[in-house]
């Protein structure tokens, strides 16, 4: 394997089409005679539907059809939840693609209009008359968990499930500690807000009985399986295509009512139908993230050693279950050890129904919640003991030789060197100088804060044993007769740049030019079954599948090359795209080391293992071999023609990237506004394929963390009306709100896959949030502040400063 591309900041092959406006997102796919679908959605958080009169709408200009819940209730199955059976006692309400008699959140689909254009469809929506009988709404999470009215009468209360997890004797650990801190902590609801809203184009061909769904999704194959089940149609007659996808962040890791319904409508009408979500619909009816309120208890001794940690949490499910809704808080439970040795850990989850849209995976998906709880705990402990926050962290780190590190949450962290990342970040930030500057600033009455977060996350989801629908990933690599390389990946990138980074891997393995490789994804009729892109898994699992498929392909090519060279395959080496005969002594080494052992650190072949080709002038290129494989006249007798290999990679463990983030902020006493002075991040995501893309992932994640820490919050009023229904009301970070981030890396390879990669998609949203909040709390520490709940809006900070000073 050469090193021409891997590890280099290669410009993206995706970009030329995207910077010229020539990419095709769902709404850019135009089919003749396509009808537009618009949704009538519930305006009440909780109500009975007493009647629906759609007759006027049905006769409006341009309207082709109107459907209500009664039309589809017996035709389209319920929206699926993957946690069925995985969580004991889990209640999964029967949630249909259109409401029939009971609406449970604002934005729930009630009826659809199909019309000749979007304006006609929207006009007709206003002509549908729905009579509602309003019911009391369960909005506040803690109240909903109590004695308030149940959303579903049959359940009697709003408890979706209760789950306890963790190891060690937590009661003894807390009791035996020198001190215990208890702190209530809120994770506000967030809206993922992919810039491209959701969208579906469905085309049913009655003759072929084939349905094609173009959908803005992260999981084309899983979607296909689930939609086939919902529609009761053969899976092999359903094709899902994900064209360009304009961001997901977990919000498109789902199976939505609209996706199934559009398919069903196209089957009724025999015409293509398209629905493009408006931003208001996106805020109302695309899943939200986070939404946990809990109580932290952390036990610690006088020297700063942690003894135990408990997180009793109410998790806001929303009104029904989407694909992974109840699973998200269980991920929080897994990561409650952070990057520390904590002998006893317990999470007690109460999943609670509320009259809001369902929560589900939003970038980080349960892990930011865990990291935030743990990193706030460390700062609370440091503040109580009067210790430097960095010293408390060091005190509890496992050392590099303690890996794989077993946590009291049942995980084995694959590899790590937490002090190295911490030291590097402290060095870049010049931590000592920062603390000195802080002292001086405090003397002048200024509120400067330094926040540190040392995080670990769980990536490369994951071994199939731990996943609801397979944790492997697939790849097919083939070399066409002309020598061009086609890669089919089951991952489904939507901005991460894997068309480039996977091509980098393949180009180095095969010794071909980057531009001779096409990476194809997101079409279930072209690509073998795959799992998709989420959980920072695409490179560590999907990239490894590509790597392994190429290794298989090279072995077949070697056989053919040996035949062409007239030598034994064991005497053939492959370097930089050429097969050649090697000296006999080195030949056996060549054959045995071509597939690296999984434990081999990334990119390092054992010294002397790659033999020098014997310079007898006899070489055949991989392209020569590809042509020979297809002509099939010059291949070993009995060998299958063609040059293609498929690999389904099953990881043996998750990977555990980590790092240190440091935020330096100043709080304006007059306005309560928070200004960043520095932001330093040192992340370790294992072996890096493309540093530029990794930086981009970290930047984006940190800024979503800044959003959560300072600005973003989904707000419903006490009637369950969504007050943050537009981007005017829901405050996304803008360019001028963001500091220039100073990034660096350490590189600790993962032993879980042969390239040593770990994953980086969610690191920023996991590591950064606590660093920012810790910094603001540190700034306000002279006022006696120990904790503030997010988002740290100026009015909240101003009130704290002005009440306490």
């Amino acid at each position: 394997m050469s090193d021409r591309f891997v590890g280099k900041s290669v410009k993206r092959t995706e970009d030329p089409r995207l910077i010229q406006g020539l990419g095709h997102y769902v709404d850019d796919v135009k089919l003749a005679d396509t009808l537009t679908v618009a949704f009538l959605r519930s305006m009440y958080a909780h109500a009975r539907i007493t009647s629906i009169d759609a007759s006027e709408a049905a006769h409006a200009p341009g309207v082709v059809a109107v459907y209500t819940g009664k039309d589809v209730a017996q035709k389209v199955g319920p929206v699926p939840c993957a946690s069925a059976g995985a969580i004991p006692g889990l209640r999964i309400p029967d949630y249909r693609v259109l409401a029939t008699d009971h609406v449970v959140f604002v934005g729930q689909p009630v009826a659809v209009v199909v019309a000749t254009d979007r304006y006609a469809a929207r006009d007709a929506i206003d002509l549908i008359m729905v009579d509602y009988e309003e019911l009391p709404a369960a909005v506040d999470l803690e109240a909903a968990a109590g004695t308030g009215p149940a959303i579903y009468e049959a359940y009697g209360d709003n408890i979706a499930y209760k789950l306890t997890a963790g190891e060690g004797d937590i009661d003894a650990a807390l009791k035996g500690a020198d001190h215990v801190i208890t702190q209530r902590i809120v994770h506000q609801r967030l809206a993922p807000v992919a810039m491209e809203p959701r969208g579906v184009l469905a085309r049913y061909l009655p003759g072929e009985q084939e349905l094609t769904l173009w959908s803005s999704t992260q999981i084309p194959h899983l979607l296909r399986t689930q939609i086939a089940l919902m529609l009761g149609m053969p899976e092999n007659k359903l094709r899902v295509i994900t064209p360009e996808v304009g961001g997901g962040f977990g919000s498109k890791l789902n199976v939505y009512a609209e996706e199934a319904l559009l398919g069903w409508i196209s089957m009724q009408l025999g015409k293509p139908v398209k629905w493009i979500e408006t931003r208001r619909e996106n805020m109302q009816a695309t899943i939200h993230g986070r939404g946990q309120v809990g109580t932290l208890e952390v036990g610690y001794n006088n020297d700063g050693t942690l003894t135990g940690l408990r997180w009793n949490v109410l998790a806001d499910m929303g009104a029904y279950m989407q694909l992974l809704t109840p699973a998200i808080p269980t991920l929080t439970g897994l990561m409650l050890s952070g990057c520390y040795k904590i002998p006893a850990i317990q999470i007690n989850i109460t999943g609670v129904f509320t009259n809001k849209v369902a929560t589900d995976a939003y970038r980080g998906a349960g892990r930011p919640e865990a990291t935030y709880v743990v990193e706030r705990a460390l700062d609370l402990v440091a503040a109580e003991l009067g210790m430097d926050t960095v010293d408390v962290r060091r005190k509890n780190f496992p050392k590099p030789d303690e890996f794989p590190f077993k946590t009291a949450t049942g995980l084995f962290y694959d590899s790590g060197n937490y002090e190295a990342a911490l030291d590097k970040a402290l060095g870049i930030a010049d931590y000592k100088a920062l603390r000195e500057a802080q002292r001086q600033a405090r003397d002048e009455g200024r509120l400067i804060g330094i926040g540190v977060s040392t995080y670990v996350e769980i990536c490369a989801l994951g071994p199939s044993q731990a996943m609801p629908a397979g944790g492997w990933e697939s790849a097919t690599v083939r070399i066409e007769p002309t020598g061009k390389v086609t890669v089919l990946t089951g991952a489904s990138p939507h901005g991460q740049g894997q068309e480039t980074s996977f091509a980098q891997i393949v180009a180095d393995q095969l010794g071909v030019d980057l531009n001779d490789i096409a990476v194809i994804h997101g079409d279930t009729s072209i690509v073998q079954y795959g799992i998709g892109t989420f959980g920072s898994r695409a490179t560590a699992v999907g990239g490894t599948a590509v790597y392994m498929a190429v290794e298989k392909l090279i072995e077949k090519a070697r056989q053919i090359a040996a035949h062409m060279l007239g030598v034994d395959a064991a005497s053939v080496a492959f370097n930089e795209g050429k097969f050649s005969k090697v000296a006999a002594r080195a030949a056996s080494a060549a054959a045995s080391t071509e597939v690296p052992e999984p434990m081999l650190p990334a990119g390092q072949a054992p010294a002397g293992a790659i033999p020098e080709p014997e310079d007898d002038g006899k070489k055949v290129s991989i392209q020569d071999v590809a042509l020979a494989a297809h002509l099939a006249r010059e291949i070993p007798p009995g060998m299958e023609p063609g040059l293609s290999a498929t690999h389904f990679f099953e990881p043996t463990n998750f990977t555990f990237p980590f790092g240190t983030h440091i935020a330096v902020v100043e709080v304006d006493r007059e306005t309560g506004a928070i200004e960043f002075q520095r932001y330093v991040a040192v992340d370790d995501c294992g072996k890096v394929i493309n540093p530029m893309l990794v930086d981009g992932q970290v930047h984006g994640g940190i800024v979503q963390s800044i959003g959560q820490a300072l600005y973003e919050e989904v707000v419903y009023d006490d009637q369950g009306q969504l007050l943050t229904g537009t981007l005017m009301d829901y405050a996304l970070p803008k360019a001028a709100m963001i500091p220039r981030m100073e990034l660096d890396r350490t590189e600790t390879p993962s032993p879980v896959n042969p390239m040593g990669v770990k994953g980086v998609g969610e690191a920023g949203t996991i590591g950064a949030t606590p660093a920012i909040v810790n910094a603001v709390v540190d700034a306000l520490a002279p006022l006696g502040v120990r904790h503030i709940d997010m988002p740290l809006k100026p009015e909240k900070i101003w009130q704290i400063v002005n009440q306490q000073s």
Partner: protein
Amino acid sequence: MKKAITLTVNGITQRHEVEPRLLLVHYLRDVLGLTGTHVGCETSICGACTVLLDGQSAKSCTVFAVQAEGCQVTTIEGMAVGGQLHPVQEGFWEKHGLQCGYCTPGMIMAAAQLLARHPDPADDEIRHGLEGNLCRCTGYQHIVDAVRYAAGKMKAASGD
């Protein structure tokens, strides 16, 4: 009911009869098939639909097509000339100024107009100049770098 409009889009004169309420962005996308201009919020907050209207950046989701009567409209498809990328496009490619690419056309149009007004902007001016455009992927840092790259490139080309 329909009104006749004549306007120039990417240098080509267009004449159509449109409903008065047809949004410019829908005219560009649905009538002309120029789908590079995206819709992100329909409320002129996100800037994904930004085009140049007589050289000024405008959010085409809140302009009626009839209001563009007689105007010169430039969309992302009109930025590269003769196969040569505009320096801002080049900057976004060189500096990894995009990930999912959805906000990118609007971001590029806004940046191009920013540079037309301020050929040599400081980071802070770039950040404020792009406040009308939201990106959820990049965290903006590489976008700022892309705009600076373009500024340098345009300065060199103008021989300053």
